[in-house]
Amino acid sequence: MKLDIVYFAWVRERIGLPRETVETDARTVRELVAELTAREDRYAAAFVDMDVVKVAIDQELVDLDAPLADVREVAFFPPMTGG
């Protein structure tokens, strides 16, 4: 399936782009992270410690085991620092 992925803050900087569309068979966020990490070093650098990377699916925060079926957009970013 095709999936839009967006990146923010230092996750975006490590991966080197703000947005991309990937072709993947990953069933969960965790599988997607593993797939990208295996693909290129810049993903491995961004995802080296998933304890400090947050994930949103279709603009809602989820955990790594969230399923990707029927998902349009996945976002990866550091803990928020607004306010």
């Binding site: 809602e60 620092t81 607004g82």
Partner: protein, 146 residues
């Protein structure tokens, strides 16, 4: 739901006046304004990035939660993004209630959730370089108060 995200500055006095309008059922109005602080005297600017598709959704969710928990007449969040210089306004929340306690608590609650649940990230540009502001563990812990 009147919360918004914007690059331009906001006028706190104007926002509070608009929130009050000519209502006579508001007894207490609490406002928090967050400003760019230059801790060490080396800050050139703060850069605020956000996730446009998610930001308003997140703010509205936080607002709905506050309105459900406290008896509020009105409630507002404004958050800026882009490049901000020391002393400039970053964001504000305002809460209006019949009573003081509700207004104070709801404003405190909005700030706690805004800090850890709204998709904003701050990067500091100092004379010595640039770096992302790290999230504080205390901010995540603060959510457990509510």
């Amino acid at each position: 739901m009147v919360s918004r995200v914007q690059e331009k500055d906001f006028d706190v006095g104007h926002e509070l006046a608009a929130l009050r309008g000519d209502r006579v059922d508001i007894g207490a109005l609490v406002n928090f304004t967050g400003l760019v602080r230059d801790t060490k005297g080396d800050l050139l600017a703060l850069e605020l990035e956000h996730y446009p598709g998610m930001t308003l959704k997140a703010l509205q969710k936080i607002e709905s939660e506050a309105v459900a928990r406290w008896d509020l007449q009105a409630c507002l969040i404004i958050h800026r993004y882009g490049r901000l210089e020391p002393g400039q306004q970053i964001m504000m929340v305002a809460t209006a209630s019949a009573h003081r306690k509700a207004a104070f608590e709801a404003a405190d609650f909005l700030m706690d959730f805004l800090k850890s649940r709204a998709p904003f990230w701050k990067k500091e540009h100092t004379r010595d370089g640039s770096d992302w502001v790290a999230a504080k563990n205390a901010d995540e812990m603060a959510l457990k108060r509510w």
